[in-house]
């Protein structure tokens, strides 16, 4: 079983990730000779067909890149367009957008923690199997997820591809009383998120630490959603407008995929671990406290612990949602008037899986001339392969089936969203 001279870890269809991809690792003894995260999700060519569309359509169109994190696309789109048009939004609209993002984070993080990732740690194929033995846990998870969705539903009419986000604000903003209806559920959600952190912290984590470059937004006074400088633990500190100067997409021959790298350095990691490590001081006290209680303190360098960090972000998102609801007053107007004028705008926001970059150029009629979208999963791809190159070596003595599952679990730690990533990926259909 162990110590085989050469073997291949192969997963034709990666399960419990969003979109379709496969995994291929070739080993000689305990040496990894090839790693391919294969993406066979077909290209949909968003950046091309957005040309000629009106800027006001960008949030609705780009939402369709990803059914899991449509709000992330809407937020990066509206902020990039507002920058291109040179407009400033109402402070209450800004606050409401944070609430919108809280809803998406709660929904997406709960989905990932309990339904996509936890089954790996506990040896189940899926959440339905998990529910057979731990029905109460899954029922709580479903309620928590639903509360996240209820925020999105209230602000945007539906959970997937909500309809209210607009360049300049929202099509319609809620009353104070409507938001207050969410409070009792959110108070339950906050408590349940704290329990989730404790529950996750008791899982068994493989001993695997790497020296990552963490990249996330950083804001002077808030845990980041829509604004901030882009920073890293290796000295990066830039505005969104400088993103393409400092990051490059490179063509990797073995996978025929474009991977994002920090120019002159290499792979980097975006998402919960990066945000937590770079912004721990901006977390509300309730989130910091439970993180420290379970022994999570930046820098967390073990990829597998991202499940617990995601749970800490659940605590943050619930607490932040409650804060926004307390402070919210309906704006005088749901959105500001929009000029048609030529311009270029870039924005980065924090999708549940990490930073999402949009750049648009629009002409004097308000039509899109060029669009560029770099999703978080594409930014993590090179890092995922780097991790597997290292981690698969640690598993050389493991039976193949268990080693394969462990590698899948490592990939799932990134909560990869392949549907998103494919809008720029080189897609290879392996017909061998």
């Amino acid at each position: 079983m162990s110590g085989t001279s050469g073997r291949t870890i192969k997963v034709d269809t990666l399960a419990r990730v969003e979109g379709e991809g496969g995994l291929y690792i070739k080993m000689t003894g305990d040496r990894v000779t090839d790693v391919k995260l294969k993406i066979y999700e077909p290209p949909r060519l968003f950046e091309a067909f957005m040309r000629g569309r009106h800027f006001s359509e960008a949030p609705d169109i780009t939402a369709r890149i990803c059914g899991i994190c449509p709000i992330a696309y809407q937020m990066s789109a509206v902020h990039a367009m507002e920058r291109a048009l040179g407009i400033t939004i109402d402070p209450m609209v800004r606050l409401l957008r944070r609430l919108f993002y809280c809803g998406e984070w709660i929904e997406s993080h709960t989905l990932h923690v309990y339904m996509l990732h936890a089954p790996d740690f506990l040896g189940y194929q899926d959440v339905i199997e998990l529910a057979r033995d731990h029905r109460a846990v899954v029922e709580k998870a479903l309620r928590l997820k639903k509360i996240g969705n209820s925020i999105v539903h209230l602000l945007g009419g539906r959970e997937i591809h909500p309809v209210s986000a607009a360049v300049g604000g929202f099509h319609k903003t809620p009353t104070k009383n409507r938001l207050r209806e969410l409070v009792s559920d959110l108070e339950w959600a906050l408590e349940t998120s704290i329990e989730t952190v404790r529950w996750c912290s008791k899982l068994q984590f493989p001993d695997f630490e790497q020296d990552y470059e963490f990249v996330a937004l950083r804001h002077p006074s808030e845990y980041p959603f829509n604004e901030g400088r882009l920073v890293s633990n290796r000295g990066l500190d830039i505005d969104a407008a400088e993103y393409e100067d400092r990051f490059a997409e490179v063509h990797v021959k073995h996978s025929n995929a474009l991977h994002s790298v920090v120019r002159g350095r290499g792979s980097y990691l975006v998402g919960p671990l990066a945000r937590f490590n770079l912004n721990f001081d901006k977390l509300p006290e309730v989130a910091q406290k439970v993180a420290l209680e379970v022994g999570l303190k930046p820098p967390v360098k073990n990829l597998f612990r991202s499940i617990t960090v995601r749970a800490v972000e659940l605590v943050f998102a619930c607490a932040e949602a409650l804060r926004v609801i307390r402070e919210y007053e309906p704006p005088a107007s749901p959105r500001v008037e929009l000029p048609n004028r030529a311009g270029v705008g870039q924005a980065i926001t924090e999708a549940p899986r990490g930073i999402l970059y949009h750049r648009y150029a629009v002409d004097e009629n308000g039509l899109i001339v060029t669009a560029k979208i770099i999703p978080p999963t594409s930014q993590n791809l090179r890092r995922i392969e780097d991790d597997l190159r290292e981690y698969a070596g640690h598993l050389a003595a493991w039976p193949l089936e268990e080693a394969t599952w462990k590698c899948e679990q490592a990939v799932r730690s990134y909560d990869p969203c392949i549907s998103c990533a494919t809008h720029f990926l080189k897609v290879v259909i392996d017909r061998k």
Binding site: T13, L14, A15, R16, V17, E18, G19, E20, P42, P43, R44, L45, F46, E47, A48, F49, R51, R53, H54, E57, D60, I61, R64, C66, G67, I68, P70, L111, M115, P119, Q125, D126, I128, E129, A131, R135, E139, L142, K145, N149, G157, R158, E159, I160, H161, V163, A166, H171, K172, E249, N256, L258, E408, C417, S419, H423, F424, K426, V427, I429
Partner: protein, 266 residues
């Protein structure tokens, strides 16, 4: 080719969920049905659903749910295999039923599109058209929406397993809007709205959020697109704007496609 539903002699009906070019949102609707998920999972065997489970069982399946459009040679072959394995094949969402937003390539030079997005276009294998599933294989039921309505999905699964016709209306968004007692934004405020020609299913969401319907559920049965086009022009919309309105998430659906092409001809 599509065989009639035969109730299984024993065991739970087996369901498969298959993805083609899409955003994953329609299959996520199943996981978003938080109150119904465990109930559905108890009533069926989820035999193939990679987004949710590592268990991937071979066909045949009693019901296949298909998300996404056909955009590659590989997928054009794969849908044939999927069809052969499914007693009932149901398409879910605008990509599967109308080609999706990625069907905007259908009016353009796809090679130029690929060059615009990818640095090494020679590695990209893609078809000139993004097409709905029904252009490739017989489909037993098409569930509309971008995204689908999760309650319609639960109704559809329930009805299919019971062997009855699903209760999914084909009338327009206007009826839903009236039922919600919304003031008509097109009449009262002059906002261009696709509600009169779009199939119901969303609950008249956009008019309820102070904006015009943008057609997520595709054309209703017998839509009068010519009349709506004239109305849009009266509201001050130019040909480009009208064409864009019809040409979004259900652009390749026959009547929306014709309506947008009419605008280009004038």
């Amino acid at each position: 080719m599509s065989s009639e539903a035969k109730p299984k002699a024993h065991g739970k009906p087996r369901i498969g969920v298959f993805k083609f070019a899409s955003c994953d949102g329609c299959q996520l609707s199943l996981l978003d049905a938080e109150d119904e998920l465990l109930g559905v999972a108890g009533a069926v065997e989820i035999a193939y659903f990679p987004e949710a489970t590592r268990t991937m069982l071979k066909g045949p399946y009693d019901v296949g749910l298909v998300e996404g459009s056909i955009t590659t040679h590989h997928d054009a072959e794969r849908i044939q295999q999927v069809r052969r394995q499914c007693r009932k094949l149901i398409t879910i969402g605008a990509c599967a039923t109308a080609g999706g937003i990625q069907a905007l390539r259908n009016w353009k030079d796809v090679d130029e599109f690929v060059r615009a997005v990818y640095a090494s276009p020679q590695y990209i294998s893609t078809l000139k058209l993004s097409t709905p599933i029904a252009e490739h294989v017989p489909v037993d039921f098409e569930l509309r929406g971008c995204p689908i309505n999760k309650y319609q999905l639960i109704e559809l699964i329930t009805a299919t397993l019971a062997g009855r016709k699903p209760n999914v209306p084909t009338y327009s968004v206007c009826l839903e809007c009236k039922r919600k007692e919304n003031v008509c934004i097109a009449v009262a405020r002059g906002v261009p709205c696709l509600g009169p020609v779009t199939q119901a299913g969303c609950g008249a969401l956009c008019p309820s959020y102070d904006r015009g319907c943008y057609g997520c559920f595709g054309p209703m049965e017998t839509p009068n697109t010519a009349s709506l086009t004239s109305q849009f022009r009266i509201l001050g919309q130019n040909d480009d704007q009208v064409a864009r309105a019809f040409r979004s998430f259900n652009a390749w659906a026959w009547s929306f496609r014709k309506a947008s092409e009419e605008c280009e001809r004038t």
